[in-house]
Symmetry: C2
Subunit: 704 residues, 2 copies
């Protein structure tokens, strides 16, 4: 009857009784409160005598999962008389609550004395596996949503982090004479749970609530475990590097569905490939045309007399399988399907998509899409993309790779980023991810020389094992992965039956996933560009000690406020202040924040000396420069000074200009020529710097 | 000896004993826990018998303010024996702690049973007067910084708001079978405290901690009151409308310190006045010049043969008093002092500033500055400003008035806003506020026809009475006042001696001030422009029910997330969905968020029909349109559609475009010609809409 001895693997959403759960936990060395199962009143009394009054009685039945509601929990039983009547009451309440319920017996437990109560829980995510949730008991978890969540297995260091991240962490650490918990005990429990879910993957949800900590010892006082079939993660498909490279750097492209008609996507796609200077061989496939934009057209892929690296399929969805058959015959290994009308369109579309995936498998192809907007490689002038972002007057290459699940958002952001002066190594619209996923591209782009940072617009992760591997690779290559995750508000729709399940929604799970994998989550969509740009050239700061340099008291105050908000220190300068004092007027401020005053306009050379002094200060890890109106010609002198010092220094200098670009066109082109980002608001410089600091912390934590 | 009978007004930072404090509160009908002062052991026993054991003993001495530290508080005394020894211990501990301390006696109080503990406190701000702070007892206030603060007097509705704003409000309201507090009792206490501080303004700080709520009744169990000299708010100086109008709309201007030298501020100021098309009379004052830019120069103000509406003083600080003497003689009523070197420069500068203020008083002048960058009135082509923002290639007029304490930040933001297409009615740099303050301009601009919304960059408020009045005037004129407040991180430097004082820092006080005065606080500096623009033309929504309209599933998801974050509802559409369904393709979404899909490109007229259907839905209060790449020519069709429907509807339509401006130049000029703001990110449309909703709520709350 007991799960721990049974090791069943055929669960379908069943709760263990508390006794069974307790036995299971004990098997893993976990400190479940003393208690035994009684099947008669006499047995109950002798157990109570053995463990000592007061005791708790709990009726055990798999059919009754809400014990308190059923009235089959009796607390604080102080003697035999009370025990007898409690026992009877439990049996009769159980019968009244559910007359068909089978009773395993009555659990007699020691009544736990007061201590510090915690909630420790586990939920299993179909994609990410088991997650550990901890919180402080009472109202903290329930009312204040104060909990910490991590992917399992959870290390001792991570337990410390979890405790530290709780709003009420002082309760666990002890405060004002109140003793905290013995964290070593909590770590032992977590280690036991790590082993447990490793060995028993059929654990779907678990609440240990409360777990009570005492000066000496700890006791798990209630156990609630839901067992379910173990989830078998799909075996990730391996995409050989050669295939992906044919997609990213094709020497020959066939466009199936190419057209001269500009209103058709196939018309624009073909034009963009040509106009942006593709240097390889190009074959339009269109049975109704002889020639498209000067290129000989072929009636079908099979008619092309050459090998094809990349097939771009932009025909109606129902024709896609036939085209893929041609691709198989032609031994094409890389395919982009732009056509929509697949999984995004409901059941019928899903079937078509499955068919397409099978064909890709059969033909040993790697397939992007369906519903993709394509791939762009600005540094190589390859634009197999049909999005109207390509109408942009200037397309810049750079070292940001951008991978997006939403084609529309990715394309819009690309155009906006180009306009702001950002440049890209690659831009990929993964869309339906029928075959190739975000993870495949993070993996591949981690090895892409042209790429220094990878920005991702994400709706979800489908292949966690691959994602984890790819994120790790990116870390070891020191290429930050920035993720903007959408879909927060549509979460929590799945039915969850446990407390732990209900408090830790999907968004919290993703946060845990990003933390575990060393990915930088950004909270605003424009940060995918802002923050990526800073990682292109800027060195990482050694710590979080910032100097603030402005020409205005107001700017000093605003940037200082933001540093406090984003956890950046602004240490007071001592020796460096003496140096700075020599350069700035008496109504300036040489401490930190540093205000060089409006004299910067008449004496711009003074700015350079001050900035150099800050860079030279070993107590400063990075410099935040916030310029205000800053018009040309002074603005240009300052731009030159910033770039010279930046290029000769190993510290990040993040620069903002609140004033309009159009009053400093020369300065702006100096920055742009150097590919040096300048941000329009104080918030954006501080936010961006905070990501440099965080990435350094991640590398340290992951010991890379 | 007792304060309540004494009514002393000569306090200089003294704590009352708990007994005195309790008596004072009882005088205002407050439910202080039962207790009496004993001056002998026998008296203590008879008091204890009268009120019933268990009791608490507390030694009373003005010299010992930290009773627990001194060991003169004894809890839970159950009988006479315990009382005797506790009494002795208190006396000996008091003597040991401070042998010179005078003991008033020993307070014998009923030992309070357990209940829901709250902290109720008062702090007095030198500018804003008394503030009420409430929080839940235990760790909530101390560790979780969970408190609510309001300016006194606090109404019953405000008490409800305060409770609702606490993170742990469920504890007070009751949850899961736990009873909450009787809020009527809390309101009685607050009303008593309102009367108390009204009658006893010398109350500087007060902690009632804990105040314990029971199913029946409530008890204030500890009282700690700091008395100090009452603060006398300075009488606000009245600036007659005529004087301010001479400053805002001068017909004649004298520029003392005008110069032909462009490197001098006086040179730029004079040029800007001319180049921007000032139509009145203009008199450069400069003893060293005959003629400046074609204008006859005068050696002194007195030599000008005409009346002067506005004197612009831009000479070295030390010469300012002499120039002001000339202004007095010339009966000039409006003066701007641009010169720096006053209060911002320390003690000496402060004295010079005081002298200047006296002269202004003496001459019945209104004075802006010192250290001001001036005033601009774009709608009237008057620019008495020397900031280099005026190098902007386009200067737009509009209905935003901008008032800034920081000239540099204000000027930079002006240039940036112009570049983004925003227009201004007035721009004012109040700087040192020696005479005219932010409040004076909020007051005046509330009556300015050209102004529809007032944006303020604020470091602090110096004249609260005036500010309150001005903010109220703005509310009655339905002109929103938006404030960005800086200086958060430099707060809390003042020594505070009470708990209440230390938990409620300056920034929380400002939040309370803005709430009380119906001012909209913005949290990002660029919102001073973003949000102001929306108030220029957009009607207020009737509620917070939003329709989201996009052409991308990704955009739908991002905007929906943001609506949840900003407290906007996104109701599911029913009948309207049926209408929309007719216009959009099957893979779109007609519910809410509405996704019209990329078919918007080939069928832009469909967009207009969908938008119209949303506007017509009576369950929708406002529409959030988030466009993605949206290139011309489609973008222009959509821009036209939006403007047509916007102008024929009474609902706000806030529009975003993530795609670059440079792929839709025609659309952007359509929006710009209509003065219609378009925001580049989803966050900015949702944030902006949330301010429209909030302003409507403020008007309702203030019954305007």
């Amino acid at each position: 009857m007991l799960i721990s001895s049974e090791k069943r693997n055929d669960y379908h959403g069943e709760f263990l009784t508390e006794y069974e759960g307790g036995q299971l936990l004990k098997g893993f060395g976990l400190p479940v409160i003393e208690g035994k199962l009684a099947t008669s009143k006499d047995e109950a009394v002798s157990i109570a005598r053995e463990i000592g009054f007061p005791v708790v009685l709990k009726g055990m039945s798999r059919q009754i999962t809400h014990k308190t509601d059923a009235g089959i929990v009796k607390l604080n039983i102080e003697n035999e008389t009370q025990l007898f009547s409690a026992y009877d009451e439990i049996l009769s309440n159980a019968h009244r609550y559910d007359s068909s319920a089978h009773m395993d017996g009555v659990l007699v437990q020691k009544m736990a004395p007061k201590g510090i109560e915690m909630i420790v829980g586990i939920k299993r995510d179909p994609v990410f596996g088991h997650l550990l949730v901890i919180g402080i008991g009472g109202i903290f978890v329930e009312l204040m949503k104060d909990f910490a969540i991590k992917l399992m297995p959870v290390s001792d260091d991570e337990v410390d982090e979890m405790i530290g991240s709780l709003k009420g962490s002082a309760i666990l650490r002890g405060y004002r004479g109140h003793e905290g918990i013995d964290t070593a005990r909590l770590k032992e429990i977590v280690n036991g749970l790590n082993r447990l879910v490793e060995e028993q993957p059929q654990i779907a949800e678990m609440d240990l609530n409360p777990v009570i900590f005492y000066s000496q010892g700890v006791a798990i006082c209630d156990v609630r475990i839901l067992m379910d079939e173990p989830v078998q993660p799909a075996q990730p498909k391996i995409h050989p590097v050669e295939r992906l490279d044919k997609m990213l750097n094709p020497r020959s492209i066939a466009v199936i569905g190419a057209s001269s008609d500009e209103k058709k996507n196939g018309g624009r796609l073909f034009r963009y490939i040509i106009e942006n200077g593709f240097q390889g061989k190009l074959y339009p496939i269109n049975p109704k045309a002889d020639n498209i934009r000067g290129y000989k057209a072929y009636p079908s892929l099979k008619a092309v007399p050459d090998d094809i690296d990349l097939a771009c399929i932009i025909v109606n969805a129902q024709h896609v399988p036939a085209v893929l058959q041609d691709c198989i015959e032609k031994q094409v290994q890389a395919v982009i399907i732009y056509s929509s009308g697949f999984a995004e369109l409901g059941e019928e579309g899903k079937k078509l998509q499955e068919q397409v995936v099978q064909l890709a498998q059969q033909g040993n192809m790697s397939l992007l899409g369906p519903n993709s907007m394509g791939i762009a490689s600005p540094a190589k002038n390859i634009y197999t993309v049909f999005g109207s972002a390509l109408e942009a007057p200037v397309k810049r290459s750079g070292s940001i790779a951008f991978v997006s699940q939403s084609g529309a958002m990715g394309s819009a952001l690309l155009s906006r980023a180009w306009e702001q002066g950002a440049g890209f190594s690659r831009w990929v619209s993964v869309a339906n991810e029928a075959d190739l996923t975000i993870s495949d591209f993070i993996d591949r782009l981690s090895d892409d020389e042209a790429t220094k940072v990878i920005s991702v617009f994400m709706e979800n992760i489908k292949d966690f094992a691959k994602f984890k591997q790819a994120a790790h690779k990116a870390l070891t290559r020191r290429k930050p992965v920035l993720v903007f995750k959408t879909g927060k508000s549509t979460v929590g729709k799945r039915a969850v039956q446990s407390h732990t399940g209900s408090i830790a929604g999907d968004d919290a799970v993703y946060t845990a996933v990003f933390e575990k994998t060393g990915v930088l989550r950004v909270n605003h969509i424009d940060e995918l560009i802002d923050v990526a740009r800073i990682f292109e050239q800027h060195p990482l700061p050694k710590g979080n000690r910032m100097a603030i340099l402005t020409a205005s008291g107001g700017a000093c105050s605003v940037v200082a406020d933001l540093c406090e908000e984003y956890g950046l220190e602004v240490p007071v300068l001592t020796e460096t202040a003496n140096i700075i004092q020599q350069y700035i007027p008496p109504f300036g401020s040489p401490y930190n924040p540093v205000d060089v005053t409006a004299e910067i306009i008449s004496k711009p050379e003074m700015f350079k000396k001050v900035l150099q002094a800050l860079v030279d200060d070993e107590h400063i890890d990075g410099i935040l420069v916030m310029l205000t109106t800053n018009a040309d010609p002074g603005a240009s002198v300052i731009a030159q000074a910033i770039l010279e010092i930046f290029h000769s220094s190993a510290k990040p200098i993040v620069v903002g200009r609140l004033g309009a670009d159009n009053i400093a066109p020369k300065a702006m082109s100096i920055y742009q020529d150097a590919h040096f980002p300048v941000y329009p608001t104080p918030e954006r410089i501080v936010r961006t710097m905070s990501y440099l600091v965080r990435y350094r912390e991640i590398l340290e934590k992951q010991k890379i």
